[in-house]
């Protein structure tokens, strides 16, 4: 099975600072790949390159075997679902309107949208009574569920999550982690998940990509990271997070 996403020597600079050094990375189909690392390590840059919000200064990005260009990026985006930390819901639209926004624009019928909507409500455990509400009328956890529904509405090949649980309180966060994991499994969804929390990375990640200073330091399973650290930073990072957890 070939990789869904492939970065080939892709790099990005902002002024003098390299946000991402030339990087190679493959995201496998049907798996959850977690990108982890401290703030400013380049993980957000990586994500933004993949969804085409920014273009690489050098190298290229392939999506499903096609090189991403300015011409096809708009079409490719519809094959990617994107969830950000604060949910990214549009405040002037109801939960329902947020979810069906893109489906409406690609001309889906009302029936089609309605049945997909109910399916997603069930999948994300979101009460359809809440669909007429506006984002400000929903709790943080509910907003993230709506955001997830919006991302999944058009059955994307890839789901990108940029610290989707970062702003939630611990109880809500735990519940949502569990639901997310179930959803990914049920959909056999290819997921790229960005977090700075090691426990979360271990919980979700079939594959963990540890980044630091604009480079991928190591890619592999948790066990690989723990037992065959590629670099002293890997141990340092793991131990730092562990130390906190054991308190």
């Amino acid at each position: 099975m070939s990789a869904l996403i492939r970065l080939i020597d892709a790099s990005k600079r902002y002024g003098d600072a390299a946000a991402l050094h030339p990087t190679n990375l493959s995201i496998e189909r049907g798996k959850t790949t977690v990108v982890i690392g401290p703030s400013g390590c380049g993980k957000s840059t990586l994500l933004r390159l993949i969804i085409g919000l920014i273009e690489p200064d050098s190298g290229s990005i392939e999506f499903d075997g096609t090189s991403v260009t300015a011409d096809n990026v708009a079409a490719l985006r519809r094959r990617i679902g994107y969830v950000i930390q604060e949910g990214g819901l549009f405040p002037h639209l109801t939960a329902r309107a947020n979810v069906v926004l893109m489906a409406r624009h690609v001309g889906k019928s009302q029936e089609e949208m309605q049945s997909r909507l109910l399916e997603l409500c069930e999948l994300t455990r979101f009460s359809d009574n809440l669909l007429p509400r506006y984002p400000v009328e929903l709790s943080g956890g509910q907003r993230q569920r709506v955001s997830l529904m919006r991302a999944l509405m058009l059955s994307p090949q890839l789901l990108l999550l940029d610290e989707p649980l970062g702003a939630l309180d611990p109880l809500v966060r735990a519940a949502l982690q569990k639901d997310l994991k179930e959803i990914f499994a049920r959909l056999r969804q290819t997921v790229l998940f960005v977090t700075h929390d090691l426990a979360e990375a271990i919980y979700f990640g079939d594959e963990i990509v540890l980044m630091n200073g604009g480079r991928i330091v190591q890619k592999g399973s948790v066990t690989d990271l723990r037992e065959k650290p590629a670099d002293p930073f890997v141990l340092e990072f793991i131990n730092a997070q562990r130390g906190l957890a054991s308190l």
């Binding site: 079409a75 926004l101 893109m102 400000v136 919006r150």
Partner: protein, 508 residues
């Protein structure tokens, strides 16, 4: 108060002595509103001071008595405005003074004979009647008591009293035949010279803030305020004989009717008519005095106050509404472009800000000479439109810029097209800011539209200007109170509109 003085003032139009002048202009408003005059009707213009109003009424009366339909556009503005309106055919006749014609219209730097004036005017398709019989020239006036006490009788006598405070109209200060050459001719030593509106100058003179001011020799205020005119012992001031200017193309029977007025009005009579007009504020009645018929005139007795108020208010709303609509249509797209920043965005915001800093009168005055504009409602709408632009452009730009980057990126990442992003996401999210910009513009426009009367575009500024002109507070309030009420209503209406136009999700 202003009646006489403006007679000669020709020139420089609005910006100069703004308060009084624009008030006067207001009176012209009605004129322009109704700009389609029937072909057969003769349109008479007048400047914004009493004597010109009265002469305009007299001309109207003599034409109507001759069976020729005529209407009078009162107080359209200063010399240049009337002259351009005459050349442009918006009016057919207006009263003017020979000195003004030579100095301000023909720009001659010496005295011209009547024949020389006629020859020069003919090139513009304009003719002049014989003088009406009085010479309304400039004069310097003082309080009678002070003049007697100091022994000042002539302008030369002023040399002995360098401490006297002089207050002159802005026009007189700047005229070619005004203060500078006068001071040189008489070698006057006074350095304490201020510019002051004509009407306010009389009050200043009365309370001693100034001691000497300029006036017109037929000004009824001179006698009313117990002032004396100083003798022009060096014959500095040119002659300002009143006559009617008219278009050569005017129908012959109208010309001959007008000519019946030649040589029939001496100074004393004119002073009496001016005084009557000032006293009663009824120019038609003053004109009737000329015809020595005390009563029963047919001509436009007038609208009732509710009718006038309706007319002013409708015009006011028309001015503010049209200009606001234009500001919205142009301002929102400009704001969208400006929100993207860069040199173009900076340029747009810079331009809109600069326009805002131009005083409204100056902006009106700048637009008047442009071909398409002139003295018309178009000019007023254009000026109001420019004023209304900045709040809308700025609020549109800042409303869009305030949308969090994460939401912009969500819209992009979702795959929405740029057009959809703008219309369905960005503009609705910026709607509160955009609407508040529109509201600011609307309130500014309702307020500033009172200045439109200055260039004859009408509205609630009309009574304000007339009131200022006549120093009549009740008339001022007739315009000022409705204008304030209108501004409040507009504010309230937009508050209601917020509820309709701002998406509910943004109001929770």
């Amino acid at each position: 108060m202003n009646r006489t003085k403006k007679g000669k003032q020709s020139g420089r139009s609005l910006p100069v002595s703004w308060v009084p002048h624009f008030l006067l202009i207001f009176s012209c408003v009605p004129v322009f509103l109704i700009h389609s005059s029937s072909a057969a009707e003769i349109t008479i213009g007048s400047k914004k001071f009493t004597e010109s109003y009265v002469l305009g009424e007299i001309a109207k009366r003599v034409l109507i008595d001759a069976g020729i339909p005529a209407k009078h556009r009162e107080g359209m503005g200063g010399t240049i405005i009337l002259w351009q309106a005459l050349r442009g055919g918006q009016i057919d006749v207006y009263p003017e003074y020979t000195g003004t014609i030579a100095q301000e219209i023909l720009k001659a730097n010496r005295a011209l004979s009547l024949d020389q004036i006629r020859d020069s005017l003919a090139k513009f398709g304009v003719a002049m009647t014989e003088p009406l019989g009085f010479n309304n020239t400039y004069a310097l006036v003082m309080r009678r008591s002070q003049a007697q006490q100091l022994g000042v009788r002539t302008i030369s006598d002023l040399r002995k009293h360098p401490e006297l405070k002089i207050g002159l109209t802005h026009e007189f200060l700047d005229r070619q035949d005004g203060w500078q050459p006068l001071r040189e001719r008489y070698a006057l030593p006074q350095r304490n010279v201020i510019g002051i509106d004509h009407a306010l100058g009389y009050s200043a003179l009365a309370n001693g803030s100034i001691d000497v001011k300029d006036a017109y020799s037929t000004d009824a205020k001179i006698e009313q305020n117990d002032l004396v005119a100083l003798e022009d012992d060096l014959q500095f001031f040119p002659k300002y004989e009143a006559a009617f200017l008219f278009r050569l193309s005017m129908r012959p029977e109208a010309i001959s009717a007008l000519r019946r007025l030649e040589g029939t009005l001496d100074e004393k009579r004119m002073v009496r008519l001016n005084a009557e007009a000032e006293r009663t504020k009824n120019y038609t009645r003053a004109a009737d005095l000329y015809f020595e018929r005390g009563a029963g005139l047919a001509s436009g007795a007038g609208e009732s106050f509710p009718q006038k108020l309706t007319r002013w208010t409708l015009r006011h709303l028309q001015l503010a509404g049209f200009s606001l609509l234009l500001s919205v249509i142009v301002g929102i797209p400009l704001g969208i472009v400006a929100s993207r920043g860069g040199a173009i965005g900076q340029g747009i915001l810079g331009f809109a800000s600069v326009v805002q800093t131009i005083p409204s009168l100056a902006l009106l005055a700048l637009l008047v000479p442009l071909p398409f504009f002139g003295i018309s409602i178009r000019t007023a709408i254009a000026a109001l439109f420019l004023y209304g632009l900045l709040p809308i452009v700025r609020n549109t730009a800042s409303g869009l810029q305030d949308i969090p980057r994460s939401l912009r990126e969500s819209a992009i990442a979702l795959g929405l097209s740029p057009t959809t992003r703008l219309w369905e996401i960005y503009l609705p999210m910026a709607s509160r800011s955009i609407l508040s910009g529109i509201k600011t513009s609307a309130v500014i426009n309702v307020g500033t539209a009172t200045l439109a009367a200055l260039i004859g575009a009408g509205g609630l500024g009309e009574p304000i200007l007339s009131g200022l002109n006549l120093n009549d507070h009740v008339t001022i309030l007739e315009g000022a109170i409705p204008a304030a009420v209108l501004a409040l209503l507009v504010q309230w209406l937009f508050d209601l509109l917020d509820r309709v136009l701002i998406p509910k999700g943004l109001r929770l």
